[in-house]
Amino acid sequence: MASDSRFFRFVLHITLVLNFVLPRSVSGQPAAFVADRPAAEWLYDYWKIEVSPTRGIILDIDRKARVNALQGRAVGRLKIWETFYQSLQKFSGTLSDTLGGILFQIEKADLKSGFPFSDYRLYSEDRLYEVDLAAPSFPYFVEYHYQVLIDNTFFWPDWVFLDEYPRDSVSYTVAVPHRFAYRTREVWPGLRVDTDRSLKRDITVWSAVDVLPETVAGSAPLPVMYIAPENFVVARQRGSTESWASLGSWYDKLTEGRRKITKQQAREIKALPTNPADPYTVVLELKDFVSHNWRYVAIEVGIGGWRPHEAASVFDSKYGDCKDLTYLWLAMLDQFGIEAHPALLRTRLRQPIMADFPKDWFDHVVGCAVIGADTIWADLTAPGYRAGTLPYQAEGRHALVITKNGGVLCRTPGSRPADNVVIRSLTGNLQRNGDLAFSLRAEVTGHKLRVLGTGTSTNNDDRRAAEVLGVLPGRLTAEAMSFAANPDGISAGVQVTGIIAEWAEFTGQRIVFPLTFAGWAAPQPMVEPGDGYSATRRPYPCREIDSLLIILPSGYACEFMPADVVVDEGPVHFAFSSRFAGDTLIYCRDFQYAAGRDQAETPDLDGHSIAAIQNADAVFVRVAEPAGDSATSTF
């Protein structure tokens, strides 16, 4: 009996323990309480590269993740490209539950592929396989393996983490024939390296355990290790990554003959500049001519993703991608004997290239003209930027300039806050319905001017005025507007008079209105995709000086305004001051941001007092007797 009692107590205890340990389920639904786990976590993430002298690179990817929440579903979404140099050989994917039961399996034959075209990328031979492995209930495991054949070592993929979820085990294995030379540059700290040598292969394994990738601003892949073959052959052109010069030579040979134009075209080009004798005029005017008259359409067939179309055909078609338009411009400058070169840049990803690690880093082509000691840069795909200026994605970046003597690595010029300025002076009269009747004068330069547009994108004055002020277009009615580019070509003056609807709220005894317009706090065009909203972060150095004079209805006193402040913190300078007297409110704001896109430590000031002031409202309370029924109760 005593043993029965003990046994019973034992069973009871075990039951109680299991009751708390095992996941709960109501009506067949698994408990989904996973607040203490990340949305997803990788059990392993393995890359294996095998270099074959005859086949190229065989890349095998093996991954397995546990998905705990909705946000983690992204780990099951894959995009696998097939291009002129890369083909998908195998694929298998499995979804399973926590008890090991298979929920779903998929093979390569089940994948759907499509042609990833847009209005701008008209045609290429690429295909895209998209996979979405997701189960309806959490948690679950997603596991997949795929193999890709890359027929040229030039396109050797770097090792990257595609997301910020933790990883239990990662590795990158490279097996190459003896004497096959390649170079690596580890970025992730603490990688363990093991080497082995077999009869036919040298095998190197980089690995790590318990990896916690930290999110880098933006949605770029996180680099772990860069890798490049020392020698390669692409489009029958031999190349080497031993130096930038050799890499540049290869590209020069690849694009040989692409700057040719016909005699008729040459005649037309020579008639274009207003002062052909002045090389600066020629450079500027031809850049504007190409940028405004040729549109961006990418057609990439085979090596066409690397090699531009002939300048003569681009001249006739009046469209092309970045390299087509650049080579056209170079061909035009050749007619005037002006030295000019193409330059390869990396613009899409925030991480800069490594200047001491020559490899294929690049995703964009611009041009540079050399006149004496001057180098004038030009992005032919950016009509808003005249020669001598570059879009912010291309500023302050390493550029591989291609010359007849090989490649030369240098940096594109950056900009300073004084180059990207907006000065706004606004006078406004607040109406009793909350509308603000205003008159604005503004001067804008640099990237700010590009934000505004050149006025050619729309004929609608309301929209253009809204861009200047940064308010929602639907709320602004421009009664008069003038937009005049200054002769320097890099700044413009704007004058607007109009009405902003519902700018202030009359709520009870109070008037509440924003101190800064929506655009002043975080102008959307200024924030890089993937960076998210930020009240203070900018992708380029800039300065904003605003002064406002608002006349309020009589009978109100200031109840709340932020205190005057001056802040100098790292790349940020901020000053705010205000005065109210009678019925007139004057306040000024001076915001300067000196950090560039490449800066490793781009400060996030969203939680800072600066952001709070930028987002704050002013509050004025009625001090005169109310005229009618009050909509509020006071205490």
Binding site: G28, L103, L122, Y123, S137, N293, R295, M561, A563, F635
Partner: protein, 754 residues
């Protein structure tokens, strides 16, 4: 309407009532009542509305409206008569006889008549711009008068569908667009899709520059995309600049005369003129359905003897639409396709010497056809039977079995995305779906039908058109109107509709996209149109929030709630703080900037459609703090900050995802040393099917807000737009009103703090 000849032996035209479709007004069944032949739909843009707006027109369509032609003809005749007299006298002297005079008069007059027919405008023809030549009305035009924001417009779009000879058809198209700004350059790249069994010939394309030059698209710049069954020709027009014309034409030849290409009159840029002519030889019969019939003329019917058809008498049916505005999406729309002016066809029958075949022209025909398809797919293999037996052994009772089968299909069959189709040729048999544990939305539901039938339950598939698809018009017997299958389980005293394709759904509740009025029931022995009753779930959120404000304007607190119906459906699957934050911001707490979920209790999921939860949350910046005061919106993060209906006019009806009823009770506690200085009065707005009340009371340091918002139905016609605008404007005014707390103890400071 029906085009062509019947197979009843009498070669005459049979024109049924024109099938008309427009965007929904109220519920979709109300749309049907409104749209009888000849009656304008109140919720579509009438042609008269557009024509009154002063669009720049092309040359008038009908020469009969141009009085000048008649005057000219008459003047020519008068001149001829005078000439006859003058010339005849000069040449031949006075007429020798009256008969000679009459003969000469006849000759001159008839020559004038012939001359008048050489004029460019003739009765019955619509003038078209000349191929490769810029029209005078296009010259110098860089924007449309009535739509200055339009980056481009379709100037002229003409299609000819020629059926036959034989079992083929040819589709000839000519399209002409004008580009007004660089934003319109995207229309200067073109993609022409075709099936692998079809051929495109005679493709020509060019740009007409503003100075009138014609620049052709070279043949080697036309690329072919081959994606298996479907292919496309793509090309970019050269020398595109604002003000230029881009124009192309081609002929597509197909052997699939069963499927005549639909004609889309309306796109995302304005359309000035669009027309389609269908040429039908004897023996072929099609049904034509117009969506947006108010914008399209009644068909112009004519006939001619066609050498191409071996001199057979071919009938033509022509439709024209002019001055169509750009179709752009707006908030709260069910589907843009509901409002697109377009023409669809379905073959009804054909009769030739070799064959006599009738296709679907009634719902019973279609039901029979689909039933025969699905019977094969639903065939129970031993594998499926074994599975069903195992499932039955774990449940007791038919209802429990049905619920288990539903949950299995919902959770354990992986969803394979792809284009939705109900056609059998694109569906797998259920045995394969079960074996591979994956299937499309339709396949998951067909598996469910099979399992329920195995258990002896009266379960059948029902074909529907989901809300994001075309509007289902029961008068139009076309299968491609329908894109999804749900399950109908009929019991003696009840009927349940199920959809296992949605992972968030539950037994007995169709997902919002499947809440439609009618479907086509495919029973084992019977079938046809059935009404799908609205669900009797209440879609509501009942929330209780308690916020403790701090002097710096932040707040922490607790949020508890019970969600039912689709409110709970929206929550489903969210288990991590980030998921819940995004849910709250996008649904119930639109003003919740700075929201963080600190802790969450495990939400319970109850199969009768409810979710209960409790959260600890933080709200950064819940109030503005400074000068001894705290200023915050009384409804806090639940406030509607903007009126979603801001456009002065709306061309389409309004469609909410579902009717809902939300109740929020908020308690604000001010920090120690503060007292309530001011609270808004609150208020309410009431109208048909819309109800909002907000009551606010204060007590010491506490402010309590109770706010109710009921949206009683899903669809609101265009005529109710003003009412909606006013209603939501009132909500915004009340929601955004401020409550104020002031510090009673200590010195206030002017320094800003947050």
């Amino acid at each position: 309407m029906y085009l062509g000849e019947t197979t009843g032996g009498v070669p005459e035209q049979r024109i049924a009532a024109v099938h008309c479709q427009c965007g929904g007004a109220g519920s979709r069944s109300e749309v049907e009542k409104l749209h009888k032949c000849g009656q304008n739909a109140v919720d579509n843009i009438g042609r008269s509305d557009i024509l009154n707006k002063g669009w720049k027109p092309l040359p008038p369509a009908s020469p009969s409206t141009v009085p000048g032609v008649h005057l000219l003809w008459g003047w020519l005749v008068v001149c001829d008569i005078i000439k006859i007299r003058l010339v005849y006298r000069r040449i031949v002297g006075y007429p020798s006889s009256l008969s000679r005079q009459l003969l000469a008069t006849f000759l001159y007059i008839s020559s004038s008549v012939c001359l008048s027919y050489a004029l460019p405008v003739s009765a019955g023809e619509i003038p078209t711009p000349t191929w490769g030549v810029m029209d005078r009305l296009e010259m110098g035009r860089d924007y449309l008068v009535d739509d200055p924001a339009a980056a481009a417009s379709v100037v002229f779009d003409k299609g000819d569908i020629v059926v036959g000879p034989g079992y083929t058809f040819a589709f000839r198209r000519r399209c002409r667009m004008q580009i007004f700004s660089p934003a319109g350059y995207r229309y200067a790249t073109t993609k022409i899709p075709y099936h692998r069994g079809e051929k495109i010939i005679g493709l020509e394309a060019h740009t007409i520059t503003p100075d009138g030059r014609r620049v052709k698209v070279p043949k080697n710049r036309i690329y072919n995309i081959d994606n298996g069954r479907w292919r496309a020709l793509v090309f970019a027009f050269p020398e595109v600049t604002p003000g230029c014309i881009v124009e192309y034409r081609y002929e597509l030849q197909s052997r699939d005369f069963y499927y005549l290409r639909p004609w889309v009159f309306q796109t995302d840029i304005p359309t000035e003129h669009s027309q389609l002519v269908v040429h039908l030889p004897p023996g072929f019969e099609y049904a034509a359905v117009i969506n947006g019939y108010n914008s399209v003329n009644s068909p112009i019917i004519d006939s001619y003897y066609s050498a191409e058809h071996h001199n057979a008498r071919v009938k033509t049916f022509g439709w024209v639409a002019e001055h169509l505005p750009a179709l752009r999406p707006l908030p709260y729309m069910a589907s843009l396709e509901d409002h697109r002016t377009r023409l669809d066809f379905q073959i009804v029958s054909y009769r030739t010497k070799e064959a006599d075949r009738r296709f679907i022209d009634s719902w019973p025909d279609l039901v029979d056809r689909v039933r025969s398809w699905y019977e094969e797919l639903l065939d129970l293999s031993p594998e499926v039977e074994q599975f069903a037996e195992n499932l039955a052994s774990e449940t007791t009772g038919r209802r429990k079995f049905a619920e288990s089968a539903y949950r299995f299909c919902r959770d354990s069959i992986g969803f394979v995305a792809g284009s939705r189709t109900v056609s059998a040729e694109d569906l797998q048999p259920i045995c394969r779906v079960l074996r591979e544990r994956r299937g499309s939305a339709v396949e998951k539901n067909l598996l469910l039908v099979a399992l329920l039938r195995w258990a002896g339950l009266n379960a059948d598939p029902v074909l529907i058109s989901t809300l994001d698809h075309l509007y289902f018009d029961v008068r139009d017997h076309r299968l491609d109107q329908l894109n999804h299958v749900i399950v109908r389980w009929a019991m003696p005293d009840d009927m349940v509709f199920l959809d296992a394709s949605d992972p968030a759904g539950w037994f007995g509740l169709l997902p919002p996209s499947a809440i439609v009025d009618q479907g086509i029931w495919i029973g084992r022995d019977d079938g046809g149109i059935i009404d799908i009753p609205a669900d009797d779930f209440e879609h509501s959120a009942q929330l209780q929030a308690e916020f403790n404000l701090t002097p710096d304007g932040n707040a922490t607190g607790r949020l508890t709630g019970r969600l039912t119906g689709f409110r709970a459906w929206e929550w489903a699957g969210r288990a991590a703080p980030g998921d819940i934050e995004s849910y709250l911001r996008s649904t119930l707490m639109p003003a919740a900037t700075g929201l963080r979920v600190l802790e969450l209790r495990a939400p319970s999921r109850v199969e009768d459609g409810a979710v209960e939860f409790a959260l600890e949350i933080a709200l950064q910046g819940a109030a503005m703090a400074g000068a001894g005061g705290l200023y915050f919106r009384s409804t806090g993060p639940f406030a509607h900050m903007d009126n979603p209906f801001v456009d002065p006019q709306r061309p389409f009806p309004v469609a909410f995802d579902f009717p809902y009823s939300d109740l929020v009770r908020i308690t604000w506690r001010l920090p120690e040393g503060y007292t309530v200085a001011e609270i808004p009065r609150g208020g309410g707005k009431h109208t048909n099917d819309l109800d909002y009340t907000c009551g606010i009371v204060a007590d010491g340091r506490t402010i309590t807000v109770e706010r109710r918002l009921n949206v009683g139905r899903r669809h609101f016609p265009r005529s109710a737009y003003g009412e909606l605008q006013d209603f939501f404007g009132g909500i915004v005014d009340i929601d955004r009103s401020l409550a104020v707390g002031i510090k009673t103890a200590g010195q206030t400071t002017a320094a800003y703090s947050r």
